[in-house]
Symmetry: C2
Subunit: 256 residues, 2 copies
């Protein structure tokens, strides 16, 4: 029997935000290779008999030994295993999927992709702020603030990031937030532009820190969040009305 | 008993790509107000006793009588109904959610947001191409090619859209694709930039048209797709290897 590999999006954290298809793959897997950023509650829904292997950090960080992961996927599938490569959020956003898909195809391994709710969408839902807004934010962009050497990429299109008519969501940007904010301010972004950090969006432990692009980095540094974070930057996020609540603690919306 | 309104993402079309949470809301709703772009297979999963009301086109089109929709949501919730406002893809991407949330809050109606897999993610999964790629596409942006007057917005940040290191996904852009492509070429985008149209991404009837930013619009005009479409533009999409297959018919990946 031929094995297979599915790249499966784990969603932003709340296990309830898995897709039906992702759940089915998790419940029929022989082996699951998962990122550190996947919420424990999601893994708990996987088939109990499945072997679960942590393969480290997700994305562009140096700790991610991509070649080893790919070799494992190919070897397991060649041995007839149904393999799930479980990625935080969606597999096609900052997940190095093209490299994995290309290598698996070259090795003759059947591949399927199961999309997921990416962290930006989870955070927007949790905060109850839209990523786009008629006239005000007709464009939304996702960036990662880590190059593969672990530093802030220097080839950003700064004009695109400072555009007052766009919303931006920065993935994996906590340690880079200070320098990223400085650069944006140097390049002319309005210092009053709303900016919001969401740690562990949609998890029970979700935390939010609200400010502007000029003030957020210092507030975040004081809290030093350790979980997966996204930073939302843009005029549309002025619609966030959580300021009345403690801004550095989880404020889950009341259940209906 | 107080009613409530949930803005629920229907996902890109395949009912299997609903989240567990969205399914639960659909199965406990009294009334469902749905967009035309919501796939019939998704609606079929809703509670049979729920009243289902079509409220027309999604997004920025003039056919969308936003004030009437908001008035209906408030009235139904005020009468104690559990209301689901079902939106194609994710409610926080091109869905006018901020207007609805703000009006509902002002009326004292409890609101919850259930995110969904937005069309760009569904299309990327279906095509097996990543929206981002290390070094090649560190930024991904979603735009809509309709202003509220139904024309191409003239305040786009063209530099951001022509950036060779970004991927772009255009929502609801089929009729605007010709003029959008022309403008991008005028502003200096590489004419060889890969461009892909996906109609009804993840539906059984999915169709794909592959070309470059210079050739796609004419190919699309010849086919004249009527279903919801996204257009993917960027160097990362060179990884799409469906050219060998008929490019203007659905080529669903084989099931695992």
């Amino acid at each position: 029997e031929t094995g297979s590999v599915a790249l499966v999006g784990a969603g932003p954290g709340d296990p309830d935000l898995l897709t039906l298809k992702a759940l089915r793959f998790l419940q029929s897997a022989d082996v699951i290779l998962y990122d550190d950023l996947v919420a424990p509650g999601v893994l708990a829904l996987a088939r109990r008999e499945a072997e679960k292997i942590s393969v480290g950090k997700r994305g562009y960080r140096p700790s991610c030994r991509q070649d080893q992961i790919v070799a494992m996927l190919i070897e397991l599938a060649s041995n007839g295993k149904r393999v799930v490569r479980l990625k935080g959020g969606d597999p096609m956003v900052f997940g190095r999927a093209n490299e994995e898909i290309s290598a698996l195809r070259s090795a003759g391994v059947p591949v399927e992709i199961v999309p997921g709710v990416t962290a930006a969408l989870g955070a927007a839902a949790s905060l109850q702020v839209s990523l786009t807004e008629r006239d005000k934010a007709r464009r939304v962009q996702f960036i990662t603030a880590h190059a593969h050497d672990g530093r802030l990429p220097d080839d950003f299109d700064w004009g695109a990031l400072c555009d007052p008519h766009a919303s931006s969501v920065v993935y994996m940007g906590v340690k880079m937030l200070g320098v990223l904010s400085e650069r944006l301010l140097e390049r002319g972004i309005d210092p009053a532009t709303p900016a919001l950090l969401v740690e562990r969006a949609t998890w029970a432990e979700e935390r939010r820190i609200f400010g502007t692009i000029a003030t957020l980095a210092a507030k975040v540094a004081a809290v030093d969040p350790a979980g997966p974070c996204v930073v939302l930057i843009g005029a549309a996020f002025a619609a966030y009305d959580g300021e009345a609540a403690p801004i550095d603690h989880g404020v889950k919306q009341a259940a209906l």
